[in-house]
C-alpha cells in the first residue's frame, strides 16, 4: 500500500476548526476552498476537531478511499499533535513522514485574534507552504533499537527515592545518583510536615531503608552525572564520585529529581542567621530541641514575587503556618506574627489549616510590598494596611520565608541532558498541561521541585507519574529511532570531512567509498537530525532528511509567491 515515491502526489488537506479556537478567528471555509485550488490537492476536509477519534478515522478513510499519498493537517501545533496524526497515517498504510503539519492555531488564529482577514490570509499562505513541502516529502525509515531496561534517577531525595522504589518494584533496575553523602534531600533537614504536623524523619528514614534494601536499586551517593551519551532506550552514563572514581552503565530512561534549594536572603531584612533566620534554618533549630522564644515575627515573600523573582514559591505560606503552630505547641504563651502579602492556602485541607492557625491565635498582619516591614535591632516595624498605622513588634526571633530556587548546577545538568530550563533555572517540561512530567527529549522525565516549588503530596504524585512515564519506555523491547536523520549521496561526496567536524554527536564518519576514495557515512542511530552537516556540505551530498534544501526552498517559494 506504500506508494512509490515517483507517483504523482495526491494530497489530502484536513483543516481543523479546533472548536472556535481556529474557526473563531480564521475563515476556515475560505481556507478549505483555497486549499482545493492548490496543485496536487485531491481532497479537502474540514473537521470540528481533527484530533478526535472521528477526525482521525476520516483521515484514515480518505487515505484509502482517495488514494492519498500525502496528508496535510492544518491545526494546532506539531509539538503536541504531530505524533497522533503520523500514527493515523501509519495505520492507514502511509509512511508517517508523508505527513505535514501546518500550524494555524498557536501561530495564527491565537496571535491575530482581532484581524480575521489577515489571519485568514496568513492561514492560506501557511497551508500553501505546507502543501508545497508535502509535494517533496519522502518516506523515511525508522530504525528499531533495543531498550536497556534500566532507569537512571538523578537526585536521591524523597522524589527520586519514591520514583526509584516504584520502578524497582515493577522489576526494573534503577541507578540512583545523589550528590550529597546521604540520601534524603531537603526533607532530611525538615522537622515536621504540614498539614498533619507529622515528623519528617521517620518518613524519610523509612524510604531510605526501603531503597537500601531493594535488590533492584543501586545507589551512588556523593556522586554526580559526569557524562551522558546516546538516546532514548540506550543512554551511556558515566557517574563520578567526589574522589573522581567513575562508574559506567547503560540506561533506557532518565528521571530528573534534583529538587530545589531555599534562597539564602543575604542582605534582606538584616538577615544574620542568628536572630534573623530563614524558615529552613528554623527547622534545624526545632530539631535541636524545644525553642525558647516568646515573640516570633515571620515575614512572607522574602525575595519572592519581586522584580528579580516574580514567581510564588507555593510552599511558604503553609510552611509559616506549620512552624507558627509548632512554636505555639512547644510554648502556648508564645506570640507569633506572620507578616504576609497574600496568604495562599488553597484546597480543602490548607484553608482549614489556615483557619486553625488563626483560631490558635497566630496573628496575621498584611503588609504592602511598596511599604515593606523593617527589621530593627529590637523590633519589627510594619505598616498595617488594615489599621492604617505602623506597628512595632518586639521580637526574640525573626523568621524569613524565602522561596525555593533552582539547584546550583541545574543549568549544567540541563545542558548535559539537552533539556531546557526556564528563566529561573527550573526544569521546563514539554507542555505545561498536556505533558507536565516529560521533556521534549524522548526518554527523559522530571518530577518534584526541580520543576517548580510544590507541596510534598504533589511532588510524590509526580514521582509516581514520572516513574510510570519512564516505564512506558522501559517495558518496551525496542524503541524506534526517528527517520529525521542525515543521509549521504555517496556519488556527490568528495570526502572533505566538514560534516565530521561539525557534528557534535559523531554520527558521520569518513569511510572508503565504492571508488576507493573516502566518503562520509552517517550512523542513523547516532544522528539527531539537526542538519548542521547538510548546511556545511559544499557539494550537496549530505541531505538533512525531512528538512532538505528542496523542501525548505519550496516553502520559501510558496511563502513569498505573489498573492
Amino acid at each position: 500500500m506504500q506508494p512509490p515515491t515517483n507517483t504523482p502526489p495526491r494530497i489530502g488537506v484536513f483543516i481543523c476548526h479546533c472548536g472556535s479556537n481556529i474557526a473563531g478567528h480564521v475563515d476556515v471555509a475560505a481556507v478549505a476552498d483555497y486549499a482545493q485550488t492548490l496543485p496536487g490537492v485531491v481532497f479537502v476536509q474540514r473537521n470540528m476537531y481533527t484530533c478526535s477519534d472521528g477526525g482521525l478515522s476520516q483521515i484514515k478513510d480518505a487515505i484509502v478511499r482517495h488514494e492519498l499519498n500525502r496528508v496535510v493537517v492544518a491545526a494546532c501545533t506539531p509539538r503536541t499533535h504531530e505524533p497522533l496524526f503520523r500514527d493515523a497515517c501509519r495505520e492507514a498504510g502511509l509512511n508517517p513522514y508523508l505527513f505535514e503539519f501546518v500550524n494555524i492555531r498557536d501561530q495564527c488564529s491565537w496571535v491575530h485574534m482581532h484581524e480575521p482577514e489577515a489571519a485568514t490570509a496568513k492561514a492560506k499562505d501557511l497551508v500553501r507552504m505546507g502543501v508545497a513541502r508535502a509535494h517533496l516529502l519522502q518516506p523515511l525509515e525508522e530504525k528499531e533499537v533495543p531498550v536497556e531496561p534500566v532507569a537512571l534517577i538523578i537526585g536521591g531525595g524523597m522524589i527520586g527515592m519514591t520514583a526509584a522504589l516504584n520502578l524497582a518494584r515493577r522489576g526494573f533496575q534503577v541507578k540512583l545518583v545523589e550528590r550529597e553523602a546521604e540520601l534524603g534531600g531537603l526533607l532530611r533537614h525538615l522537622d515536621r510536615l504540614y498539614p498533619t504536623q507529622d515528623e519528617a524523619q521517620p518518613l524519610v528514614e523509612a524510604r531510605i531503608a526501603d531503597v537500601k534494601s531493594s535488590p533492584n536499586i543501586e545507589v551512588f551517593t556523593a556522586s554526580t552525572l559526569h557524562s551522558l551519551k546516546g538516546f532514548v532506550g540506550n543512554y551511556e552514563v558515566v557517574v563520578q564520585d567526589r574522589e573522581g572514581r567513575q562508574s559506567s552503565f547503560r540506561a533506557g530512561a532518565i528521571i530528573v529529581a534534583t529538587g530545589a534549594q531555599p534562597l539564602t536572603p543575604t542582605g534582606l531584612y538584616n538577615y544574620d542567621g542568628k536572630r534573623v533566620i530563614t524558615q529552613f534554618e528554623l527547622e534545624g533549630r526545632f530539631k535541636q530541641g524545644p525553642l525558647a522564644v516568646q515573640r516570633v515575627v515571620m515575614i512572607q515573600c522574602v525575595g519572592a514575587r519581586s522584580a528579580e523573582r516574580p514567581y510564588c514559591s507555593r510552599i511558604c505560606c503553609t510552611t509559616a503556618i506549620k512552624n507558627a503552630l509548632e512554636i505555639r505547641q512547644a510554648n502556648p504563651t508564645a506570640e507569633v506574627y506572620i507578616l504576609y502579602r497574600d496568604t495562599e492556602t488553597q484546597g480543602t485541607r490548607y484553608e482549614a489549616y489556615y483557619t486553625r492557625a488563626r483560631e490558635a491565635g497566630i496573628q496575621f498582619i498584611r503588609y504592602n510590598p511598596q511599604r515593606p516591614p523593617r527589621v530593627t535591632p529590637d523590633r519589627v516595624l510594619v505598616y498595617d494596611e488594615l489599621l492604617g498605622a505602623t506597628l512595632g513588634i518586639p521580637y526574640d526571633l525573626v523568621v524569613l520565608s524565602t522561596p525555593l530556587v533552582a539547584r546550583e548546577g541545574a543549568h549544567e545538568l540541563a545542558q548535559m541532558l539537552k533539556v531546557p530550563v526556564d528563566e529561573y533555572g527550573f526544569f521546563l517540561e514539554a507542555h505545561v498541561k498536556l505533558r507536565p512530567l516529560d521533556f521534549a527529549t524522548d526518554g527523559v522525565y522530571v518530577a518534584g521541585t526541580a520543576r517548580w516549588p510544590a507541596h510534598l503530596e504533589e511532588t510524590i504524585a509526580q514521582a509516581y507519574g514520572a516513574a510510570a512515564r519512564a516505564a512506558t519506555i522501559l517495558t518496551k523491547e525496542t524503541v524506534v529511532s526517528s527517520g529525521v536523520v542525515a543521509r549521504v549521496n555517496e556519488a556527490l561526496c568528495r570526502g572533505c570531512g566538514r560534516c565530521v567536524e561539525i557534528c557534535p554527536f559523531g554520527a558521520p564518519t569518513l569511510v572508503e567509498g565504492a571508488s576507493g576514495l573516502p566518503v562520509a557515512r552517517v550512523n542513523a542511530i547516532m544522528c539527531k537530525g539537526c542538519g548542521a552537516c547538510a548546511s556545511v556540505c559544499p557539494t550537496g551530498a549530505m541531505q538533512a532528511c525531512h528538512f532538505t534544501d528542496e523542501q525548505v526552498t519550496a516553502m520559501l517559494r510558496a511563502a513569498l509567491e505573489a498573492r
Binding site: Q107, V111, K528, C530, A532, A544, F547, T553
Partner: protein
C-alpha cells in the same frame, strides 16, 4: 511610506518554535506579517536559504534559535551565528540593508519575547521600506539557488 512587510522567520524546533507556540497559548497579539518555517536547528539555516528568501522578495528574514548554551544539538546555534554574519555581509554586497536580516534567541519559555520580536522586527523592516527585490513578482533569471550557495 507604510506597507505590510513580508517576513520569513526560521524557527528551531526545540526552543524558538516552542516560544512561538507559547506566544499563541498566552494569546499575545502581533502583526500577521511573518511566516514561520520550522527547522530542527537554527544551524540548519544556510546562506542559500536566506538569500533565496530575499531573491524571492522577502522584506526581512529573522533566524531564531536556542540561547547560547541551550542548543538541543549543543552547538548548532553557534553555526547560525556564523551563517547569519557572513550572509549579512553578502546582503550589503548585493545592495540590501544588512538589518533586513536578524538572528535572535528565543527559548521555549519566552512567548512574550517572540511576540515582541515579531512586532519590533516588523517595525524595523517597515521603516526600511520594501526590499528592492520585492516587486511582488517572481524574477525568472537570477540564480541564487540554494544548491549552489552553500560554501560561501
Amino acid at each position: 511610506m507604510s506597507f505590510e512587510p513580508r517576513i520569513v522567520v526560521f524557527a528551531c524546533n526545540w526552543c524558538s518554535y516552542a516560544g512561538a507556540d507559547l506566544a499563541g497559548v498566552s494569546r499575545m497579539q502581533y502583526p500577521a506579517t511573518t511566516r514561520v518555517i520550522r527547522v530542527m536547528c537554527s544551524g540548519r539555516v544556510t546562506p542559500g536559504f536566506i538569500l533565496e528568501a530575499f531573491r524571492l522578495g522577502a522584506d526581512g528574514v529573522l533566524v531564531t534559535g536556542c540561547h547560547p548554551g541551550d542548543c538541543h544539538y549543543m552547538s548548532g546555534n553557534q553555526n547560525a551565528v556564523v551563517t547569519v554574519n557572513k550572509t549579512a555581509r553578502l546582503l550589503e554586497l548585493l545592495g540590501l540593508e544588512k538589518n533586513r536580516l536578524r538572528l535572535e534567541w528565543v527559548s521555549a519559555a519566552e512567548g512574550a519575547h517572540f511576540a515582541h520580536l515579531m512586532i519590533e522586527f516588523t517595525e524595523q523592516v517597515r521603516a526600511l521600506g520594501p526590499s528592492p527585490l520585492n516587486n511582488n513578482s517572481q524574477p525568472e533569471t537570477q540564480s541564487l539557488s540554494c544548491e549552489t550557495t552553500h560554501d560561501l
